[in-house]
């Protein structure tokens, strides 16, 4: 199917690559279908594009590359909701917020990770409230990210 995006124009995607968000993303509860795209310049990031609303897209990052001791608890209830059979089914991303001042000041939200069962294409954003988990965690505090950001 062809989807419309505000940033990348029309993109053709396979329907079996559509990710279904149970109860949507917080504040975007009415949007449940998203597509996940790799970014050719940088493997640490992904684009999460709403299929139903072209203007809504998120830049996602692998939080474990940002904060090595980051972790997310996968409760039995959540595993059931996402139809997770083994923990390896789940990939975790956090959203990136880029302020007006530009990417150098970008932050990622460690309190609201997005869990995706890539096998079943089911996802959910959860609240992961913990000491040291910041809603605005600086993205470029980590040397590795500094080196790998080429854009």
């Amino acid at each position: 199917m062809i989807i419309e995006t505000a940033r990348f124009g029309e993109i053709e995607i396979e329907e079996n690559n559509i990710i279904e968000f149970c109860s949507g993303l917080i504040a975007f509860e009415d949007l449940t279908r998203f597509a996940l795209f790799d970014i050719s310049e940088n493997a640490n990031f992904k684009w999460l594009q709403s299929i139903d609303k072209p203007q809504v897209a998120f830049l996602l990052v692998d939080p474990f590359t940002i904060k090595q001791d980051y972790y997310v608890d996968l409760s039995d209830e959540l595993a059931e909701k996402l139809e997770v059979l083994i923990p390896e089914d789940v990939i975790v991303y956090t959203t990136v917020t880029v302020p007006k001042s530009g990417f150098k000041d970008a932050t990622t939200n460690l309190v609201g990770p997005i869990l995706i069962n890539w096998r079943k294409k089911k996802a959910k954003q959860i609240i992961c409230e913990r000491e040291n988990n910041l809603i605005k965690y600086p993205l470029l505090a980590n040397k590795y990210m500094k080196l790998s950001y080429g854009g």
């Binding site: 990348f8 993109i11 053709e12 995607i13 396979e14 079996n16 690559n17 993303l25 917080i26 504040a27 975007f28 597509a35 996940l36 795209f37 790799d38 970014i39 050719s40 310049e41 940088n42 990031f45 684009w47 203007q55 809504v56 897209a57 998120f58 830049l59 409760s75 039995d76 209830e77 909701k81 959203t95 990136v96 917020t97 880029v98 302020p99 530009g102 990417f103 939200n109 309190v111 609201g112 954003q125 959860i126 609240i127 409230e129 809603i135 605005k136 854009g151």
Partner: protein
């Protein structure tokens, strides 16, 4: 909004399965105990609000420096 007065060790029950009890009151802080099924998510209101606001700003990136091109995923080989 329904407003109820409760003392320490008193509680309220919401629906069939959610129990909330006042555990302690210290100054302007109230400690609540909550019993609910595990599939009921319980979060502090201001945390949810903060994540909501963060999602709203994260979902509208207009930084021109982010002109990364995307790779459309290929169907998985059966």
């Amino acid at each position: 909004m329904l407003v109820l007065s409760r003392k320490i060790d008193e509680g309220i029950i919401i629906g069939d399965n959610i129990k909330i009890r006042v555990i302690a009151i210290e100054g302007n802080k109230v400690k609540l105990g909550i019993i609910a099924n595990k599939d009921i998510s319980i979060v502090r209101e201001e945390i949810l609000e903060a994540v909501k606001n963060e999602n709203l700003s994260a979902g509208q990136i207009d930084d021109a420096s982010l002109n990364w091109s995307i790779m459309v995923p290929q169907p998985e080989k059966k």
